[in-house]
């Protein structure tokens, strides 16, 4: 279990609105200030993690590529809600490694370990 200060819940699909990118900016800045941050993906937020996306087809900035740089920011605690994957009929093929797929109860337990929580 982590003792990170902030948990960010990502609940939006990546392209329609800019929420995923704005959430990423918050995560990177907390990490740059050496404040621990954990990322939680729930609901449509899980679409930010699935493999084989082609955002250039719709002229969207591929901010998902930045997820691969998390190791340089010491962002290591990345949790995905299993139930959200199941209801969307998604397999566990993600574009980054070292993520943990958790059932809702465990997902909730990890979330509760943080001092503050934001959701985008």
């Amino acid at each position: 279990m982590t003792t990170n200060l902030l948990a960010i819940i990502n609940s939006s699909a990546p392209y329609n609105r800019n929420l995923g990118k704005e959430s990423l900016d918050v995560a990177l800045i907390f990490a740059s200030f050496e404040q621990g941050v954990s990322l939680f993906f729930q609901g449509d937020g899980v679409y930010q993690l699935i493999d084989q996306q082609n955002p250039q087809k719709i002229s969207a900035k591929d901010y998902l590529k930045t997820f691969s740089a998390f190791e340089f920011y010491d962002i290591e605690d990345i949790y995905i809600c299993q139930e959200s994957l199941t209801v969307r009929n998604l397999s566990e093929s993600f574009h980054i490694d070292n993520v943990q797929v958790l059932p809702p109860e465990t997902f909730a337990k990890h979330l509760a370990m943080h001092q503050q929580i934001l959701r985008f």
Binding site: G43, P104, A108, R119
Partner: protein, 97 residues
């Protein structure tokens, strides 16, 4: 450990309330405010009230009345001051909007 959940959207339109329920723990409190007040008559709420569980639901009274919603007797109507106090009697807040 307890979390205060602010539900600001209608579950008839969005899945925020449903996502909240999938992680809410028994000693958490759920607050309906803004369009979240419409959830008072959503089946998710009705089912929740029928269950034996300690999850507390409250509603911002002014927000419900503004929308011509009458809260059932089992759900306490609160003021904004009450909401501020609840912020500090719980360990943290999650806003579902």
């Amino acid at each position: 450990m307890s979390i205060l959940h602010l539900i600001r959207s209608s579950a008839f339109h969005r899945s925020d309330f449903e996502q909240c329920l999938s992680i809410a723990q028994s000693n958490d409190t759920i607050i309906f405010c803004d369009d979240g007040c419409y959830n008072l008559s959503h089946p998710l709420t009705t089912n929740l009230l029928a269950q034996e569980n300690k999850l507390t639901i409250k509603v911002l009274q002014d927000h419900a009345q503004a929308r011509a919603i009458i809260a059932p007797q089992t759900i306490e109507g609160i003021t904004m001051e009450d909401l501020v106090s609840l912020t500090f009697t719980h360990d943290k807040v999650i806003t579902w909007q």
